[in-house]
Each structure stands twice: as structure tokens, then as C-alpha cells.
């Protein structure tokens, strides 16, 4: 028996590139998109010299679903639940920004109680966003689990409030052009007051645990410094801007909603480093608690919806409007162009965390790989908003 088995030609393999790269000065590393501390699917192409970052190019688009195109193919009201999915941590402020822009576009007035409800919900959103950011950042630094669970315990109370009000914990879809969808259920305001009353005690404890921690100080102070000139020029907004000492808060500048009626201060940082950005969040939460307490006292009874607004078959006049609010992550704006139809001709979202990433390379240059994660965490990004 002479069975023959043909042997295959040896396959030509490409020469390995690894060796040649290691011989060079820089090592290219692709961080992400599945990295646990990139807060979603975010990738950074990093050129390293040893452990030091020499170049960094962010890569976006893993979660891109062309939100703006979908908004242009949907009615004005139809985009409202979809704004929840932008920054899924802060659906209430997304709703408000969109509602505000449409109200500007069509010239709609909002009843007093609805304006107060909006302020209350936006500040509750700010509390839960900032507290979970601090938890996530500690997670990125290596404090696995515990600080995050502390933060989530408090966040959960606020999400419960959202759930009993709107029916959903995160995808609230609560606001409408000309008011809010429904009034608060009985007893909601008392529950909210209780949550806000106990919050400072938690915040004191959390602040003591985090911000005086030796490791946190060593890893955040003098890391990722941002100059105020660059921050203004690069369009940085929100706590990241104010950490550089630039006094710019849309709540104060535009005075949208009923914010001029509340007494609150705008906390400012000195150094613009990561520690200041953390500190900014803690201080802003304290101011938010102050605003909430004032709002609970002042809120009047009354309707929550402007009865003149035609929600269905809503056709604003031909024209355009840009409305913006101070979302927890920065300035969130919506730019709408109406051609007189039921759908917006142009629907644009100005995402704060996307534009805040403009300076990510400037912040990270000269720092180690481990610092990149801390800096990225302190920028506070949510990929649903960055990629849209």
C-alpha cells in the first residue's frame, strides 16, 4: 500500500514588526476600546517612551449611531426619549436642554411649578452624576468597588425618586416643551427632601475618605494641569473649566429657568489639575444641595404644563435657535433649524464631554500611562454623548 499524503507548501508569514518598533524610540499602544476604565468603548492611540506618554490620539465612533440624523427623521416630540440616551447618567438635564431649545425656537412659556421642578430634577441629576463620577474615578485608581458602592448607594436613592416620578430610573423622558409630563406623585416632595437632608452627612464622610487620602493626593495633584487660556480657547466647559479658575457657569451667565431666583456660589479652582477637578465636583454638590433646599421651600402649586402647547403635530415657525444649559458635564446645547414642518430640518447636539476631550492630549503629555486613566476619569465622559 502506497498511500500518499500531499504536504502543503509552507505559508509565507509576514516579517514581525514588533522588533523593529521596539528598536525605535516610541512604542505605540492602543488603549481601549475594551479597557475597563475608558468608561465605555473609547480608544486612545498612545505613543510611549518607556512609561511616559509622548503622543495621544483619541479614537471615537464605536458607539456612533448618528443620533442627529435620527433626530432629523423624527418629530420634535419623538426625539425627547432619545435625548435620554445621549448622556445616560443625566437624562433629566438632556431633556431640559432639548426642551429649552424647542421653547426658544417656538417661543413657548413654561409654568412656574414646572420651572421649579426642572431645577430640582437638574440639581438631583448633578448630585448623582458627580457622586458616581467620584466613585468611578476611585475605581480607576485602584480602589476597587468600595468607594463606587458608597457612591452608588446614594445615587440609588435619587434614581428611586426619578423612578417614582417618571417611571424609569435612567431613561426618564420627563420634560416636554412647555413644562413637564406629569406632576409629582403624593409624598414625592417629602421623600426628596429627606434624601437631600441626609446627603450632606454622606458627602462629608465621602470627602474625608477621598480627598484627604494620601494616595489620591499623590496621584492627582499636579497631574493633568490645564491652563485657563487653553481651556477657554478649546471650549472646555463645566467643572473642568472652573477648576482652572475661569468663572463661567451657564446657570449664572444665561440665567435660564429660574436660576436667577436662587442664591448659590460658583466654586472655582486654583491649579487646574486633577485634584481641583475632583474638588470642584464636591463643592458643586454642596451648592446643589443649597439650591435644592431653596427650591423645596419656594415651589408653588399649580399646573406643570403650558396648556397652549400643541404637543402632537407640533410645527414651530421657520427659523433657528440655539439653547444651552449647564449640564453636570459642561455646557449642553441643542441647535435646531425648523423649516415649518413636523421634523426639525437640522438637529444638532453640542456634547460637552466630546468637546472637553479636545485637550486630552495636552493634559496627558509627559505623564505616565497610569495617569492617563486618572486624567480621563476626571474629564468625566460618557460615550453615549461623545459618539452620539
Amino acid at each position: 500500500m502506497t498511500a500518499t499524503i500531499q504536504t502543503l507548501e509552507p505559508i509565507e508569514r509576514p516579517p514581525t514588526t514588533m522588533g523593529s518598533r521596539l528598536d525605535g524610540e516610541l512604542l505605540e499602544v492602543s488603549m481601549g476600546p475594551q479597557h475597563p476604565s475608558t468608561h465605555g468603548v473609547f480608544r486612545m492611540n498612545v505613543a510611549l517612551e518607556g512609561e511616559i506618554v509622548r503622543k495621544l490620539k483619541p479614537v471615537f465612533g464605536y458607539l456612533h449611531r448618528n443620533h442627529e440624523k435620527i433626530g432629523e427623521n423624527t418629530s420634535y416630540l419623538g426625539s425627547m426619549p432619545y435625548t435620554d440616551r445621549l448622556d445616560y447618567f443625566c437624562s433629566m438635564t438632556n431633556n431640559w436642554a432639548y426642551a429649552l431649545s424647542v421653547e426658544k425656537l417656538a417661543g413657548i412659556e413654561v409654568p412656574e411649578r414646572a420651572e421649579y421642578l426642572r431645577v430640582i430634577l437638574a440639581e438631583l441629576t448633578r448630585l448623582q452624576n458627580h457622586v458616581s463620577l467620584l466613585g468611578f474615578l476611585l475605581n480607576d485608581m485602584g480602589a476597587w468597588g468600595t468607594p463606587l458602592m458608597y457612591a452608588f448607594r446614594e445615587r440609588e436613592k435619587i434614581l428611586d425618586l426619578f423612578e417614582s416620578l417618571s417611571g424609569s430610573r435612567m431613561m426618564c423622558d420627563y420634560m416636554r416643551f412647555g413644562g413637564c409630563r406629569c406632576d409629582t406623585p403624593p409624598g414625592w416632595m417629602e421623600r426628596a427632601k429627606k434624601v437631600v437632608d441626609v446627603f450632606p452627612r454622606f458627602l462629608d464622610e465621602f470627602e474625608k475618605l477621598i480627598l484627604s487620602n494620601e494616595v489620591v493626593i499623590a496621584r492627582t495633584q499636579e497631574v493633568g494641569k490645564l491652563s485657563p487660556e487653553l481651556a477657554v480657547n478649546a471650549g472646555i466647559t463645566g467643572p473642568m473649566l472652573r477648576a482652572c479658575g475661569v468663572n463661567y457657569d451657564v446657570r449664572k451667565v444665561d440665567g435660564y429657568g429660574f436660576y436667577p431666583r436662587f442664591k448659590f456660589r460658583v466654586p472655582l479652582g486654583d491649579h487646574g489639575d486633577t485634584y481641583d477637578r475632583l474638588m470642584m465636583r464636591v463643592l458643586e454638590m454642596r451648592e446643589s444641595i443649597g439650591i435644592l433646599k431653596q427650591a423645596f421651600e419656594q415651589i408653588p402649586a399649580g399646573p406643570v404644563m403650558n396648556p397652549k402647547v400643541k404637543i402632537r403635530a407640533f410645527r414651530p415657525p421657520v427659523g433657528e435657535a440655539y439653547g444651552r444649559i449647564e449640564a453636570p458635564k459642561g455646557e449642553l446645547g441643542f441647535y435646531l433649524i425648523s423649516d415649518g414642518g413636523t421634523n426639525p430640518y437640522r438637529y444638532r447636539v453640542r456634547p460637552p464631554s466630546f468637546i472637553n476631550l479636545t485637550v486630552l492630549e495636552d493634559l496627558c503629555l509627559g505623564h505616565t500611562v497610569a495617569d492617563v486613566m486618572v486624567i480621563l476619569g476626571s474629564v468625566d465622559i460618557v460615550m453615549g454623548e461623545v459618539d452620539r
Partner: protein, 224 residues
Amino acid sequence: MESPEQIKARAEAALPGVKIDIVPNGSPSRQLSLLIDNEHALAVARFLRDDLALRLDFCSNVTGIDWLDRTVKKTVKVKKTIDGEEKEVDQTTEEKISGYLEAVYHLYSMTQKHGPVVIRMRTTDRAEGVRLPSLTPIWRSAEFQEREIFDLYGVRFDGHLDLRRILMWDEFVDHPMRKDYREADDYEYEPTPHDDVLERAKQHYAPRPQLDGAEKITATDLHG
């Protein structure tokens, strides 16, 4: 803050050769915008940023718009003499506007705390690879947003140092935010075990042994 008319007058006086048009806005928001010519766009932008009264140092929002070919109906009252009597008659004229792409910038001032001033630039047509001057040298916040316009609308920005696709993948061909964009059926096509790959995969299977006479041996032969 100065009105758009005042800004237009001052900019045209300060920069010779600059022509600025004011674009009306029918919405109650009354955000009028300044249409600046592409040739002098950088100079106007620098003027808006550095002028001491304006100080528009913060470029908040940058976005593109795709305007298709459209007809605009205009009603003008015209005096006509009908039967020897002078009457006012509505006369509608249709104006055809050919399509163009537009870039819109919303400017605010962080030092003076005022805004917005809206400036726009228009391309001549909607062809592939139309060009506009980049304002990233003036405001760095336009860096990613101009890349996004390039990616989704296909406007090339002259003077942008890093103009690449940002949200779509690099191999993608069309510009999805254009109004006449049609989604391809198979734009995520990857050669999975079909045609070429299947051919190549066959190489890895050893062929069946050739006939060597063994199959002819039967049971009767063995015992016979």
C-alpha cells in the same frame, strides 16, 4: 451686547474688503447670524475674538448644515393700475436657490459674559470635496467639531492640521449627514467564508488519498 448690525458695521470698517451679510431668523429666538465671505473668514474671526468690546473668546458650537436645491416663494405688494384705478396687488415670485453646505459657529464671550454671536460660512455648491477655511487656528474648540463636519458632511477645511474622519471609520466613503445620503445595504461587508476566503480555506484540507488498489480487495479474497 452690540446688535448684529453694529458688529457688521464695525467689522466692515475695521477690515477693508470684508463683506458681511445678515441672515434673518423667523423664530422667536431672534438669533440673527452673520454670513461672512470665505476669503476673509479668518480675519473676521480674529477680529471677533480680539476686539475689546466683543472678546468672543469661546466658540461653543460648530456644526454643518446641508441645504438642498429649493425654491423660495416671495410675496411682494406691487402697485398696478387695473381699469384706470391704482390697486395694490400681491405678486409672488419664485426664486430658485441651488444647494450648498454651510458651517455655523456659535460664539460667546467668557470674559464679557455675553453671546451668542452666530457666524456662518457657505460653500458654492454641494460637490464632493468642497472647501471652507478652518477656524481652528482661532478657536481650538473647533478642532473636533470641524473634523465631524468633514466626516458627516464632506466639507474640507483648509488650514485644519488634522482633518480625518472622526466618528465613521476611515475606509467609509460617503457622508451620512447629507440629506441625500442613502445607506448602503452591505456597508459593513467583511469577507467572511465566502468566495476568496473559502478558496483559500480549501488549501488547508488534505486531499483524499488517491486510489491505490486497496479498495479492490474484498472479503472473499482474504479468506479464499
